[in-house]
């Protein structure tokens, strides 16, 4: 058995950097496109609504791993040569946009209709009505679910390991193969994920409790 030295730990931390980066790109990119999806899903035009609903149900009905595979090899087919991390980041962005779009749709639809009607009566146009009236309230309602999805996304980036991308889980696999100490290594890797995800989960649960109390 090999020893777990500084270089092994450093390699894991290098992987952690990519895990955090992928999560951040997926969450921010997914947030931007997710807003578009949510607005399309709640728009007045039936074609937009249906397209957004189809997009969401395809991403929610297929494994994240398959989404990674299809985007990864699909981009290759287009003849565009981009680096592996960019292909993976695009896949996570698309995945996150579908899930965040659905979460925020729920938030938007939870806002009482009177708010929209009042905004209309005041002569606000669509952009201002959404930006100043509906969305701020919808985001507040959706915050616990959004935080919950962020945890899902961080855990989900581990699947990039199966495509061969070296993030935390893949780094753990490599170190485990070198040192023949799988339990220790995957224990450490699991602990690192836990340290990142647990505070977020607790924060999400606290937000939810606070809201449940306020609603009572």
């Amino acid at each position: 058995m090999g020893v777990i030295g500084q270089s092994e730990m450093l390699f894991l931390l290098q992987g952690l950097k990519w895990t955090l980066l992928l999560s951040a790109i997926g969450f921010i990119g997914g947030g931007v496109f997710g807003l578009v999806i949510a607005l399309a899903r709640t728009s007045g035009r039936s074609a937009l609504r249906k397209t957004a609903a189809g997009y969401i149900s395809v991403f929610q009905g297929t494994p994240l791993l398959m989404q990674l595979f299809v985007v990864y090899y699909g981009i290759g087919l287009l003849g565009v040569s981009i680096e592996a991390w960019a292909a993976v980041a695009i896949a996570f962005t698309l995945h996150a946009s579908a899930f965040l779009g659905e979460i925020w749709r729920g938030g938007i639809q939870a806002i009482p209709k009177g708010q929209t009607e009042a905004a209309n009566a005041l002569g606000l146009h669509y952009v201002s009505r959404m930006k100043d009236v509906v969305l701020p309230q919808a985001f507040k309602i959706s915050l616990p679910a959004t935080v919950g999805f962020l945890v899902q996304l961080i855990k989900g980036t581990s699947l990039a390991a199966i495509v061969g991308f070296i993030e935390l889980a893949r780094a753990g696999q490599i170190v485990s193969n070198q040192t023949y100490r799988p339990l220790l290594i995957f224990g450490i890797v699991g602990a690192i994920y836990f340290i990142i995800c647990w505070p977020l989960s607790l924060y999400g649960a606290r937000l939810e409790n606070r809201m449940a109390k306020a609603a009572r």
Binding site: T62, P63, V70, K155, A161, S201
Partner: protein, 222 residues
């Protein structure tokens, strides 16, 4: 780039893929059933008066829900042989799915049990119902109705998660697809096809769950 899509190799392997899809459904069903068992036992343990037991259940739920399934399945894959348990990859995958799904099931079922007010049970008894009737009609059915949507969507997530079991070479749709891919190099065609198969599986399950819900949980109460 003059890549020509060629799905013929995928169609040639269709019987293999269909068998593997059945294996995926089997894996999912086995994982779900065991997850339900773990969920019920876990909730019982979580409400027990023995404090260390309660703490252990809470720790189990938090650890499983805040680490990736991929890391869990690797850990279990290497941990079982060290405990002297030798299982094939597919059986190992079922255990990993059960543990993962079980942790989520505990949280969901606990929420359902909490949703039944004590006053309801007392009211049922006051109306002259038997204890068994109170449990079946006032505790069990409303609790099931309350948790049914989240439990079934969790089950569909678990079904999609089975694809990760390819990482320990369990027999299921993704691992079979990976073998076909390495034989034919038709990566996109293979994965695109099985993505559609997964979509069909999850839509079928959603339909089935909706049917069950309409039969058992529709109003007026039968």
């Amino acid at each position: 780039m003059n890549y020509v899509l060629d799905f013929s190799v995928v169609f040639e392997k269709m019987p293999d893929l269909l068998m593997a899809a059945l294996a995926t459904i089997g894996l999912a069903l086995a994982g779900m059933s065991l997850a339900l068992v773990i969920g019920v036992i876990g909730v019982a343990a979580r409400t027990s008066t023995i404090r260390p037991l309660r703490a252990a259940v809470i720790a189990f739920v938090e650890v499983v829900r805040n680490t990736p399934f991929l890391v869990q399945i690797f850990f279990i894959f290497f941990a079982l042989p060290m405990m002297g348990i030798r299982l094939n990859p597919t059986a190992t995958a079922i255990i990993a799915l059960a543990i993962n799904g079980g942790a989520y099931a505990i949280e969901i079922i606990r929420g359902g049990v909490d949703s039944i007010h004590k006053g309801q049970v007392e009211a049922g008894l006051a109306l002259g119902l038997h204890k068994a009737q109170v449990f079946r009609l006032i505790v069990l059915k409303p609790a099931l109705r309350a948790i049914y949507p989240s439990l079934t969507s969790q089950f569909i997530m678990l079904t999609l998660t089975t694809s990760v079991c390819t990482s320990i070479a369990a027999y299921e749709l993704t691992s079979v697809a990976q073998i076909i891919e390495s034989d034919t190099f038709r990566s996109f065609e293979v994965y695109f096809t099985i993505t559609l198969m997964y979509l069909a599986i999850s839509w079928m399950m959603m339909g089935l769950f909706a049917l069950i819900s309409r039969h058992f949980f529709s109003y007026p109460v039968r």
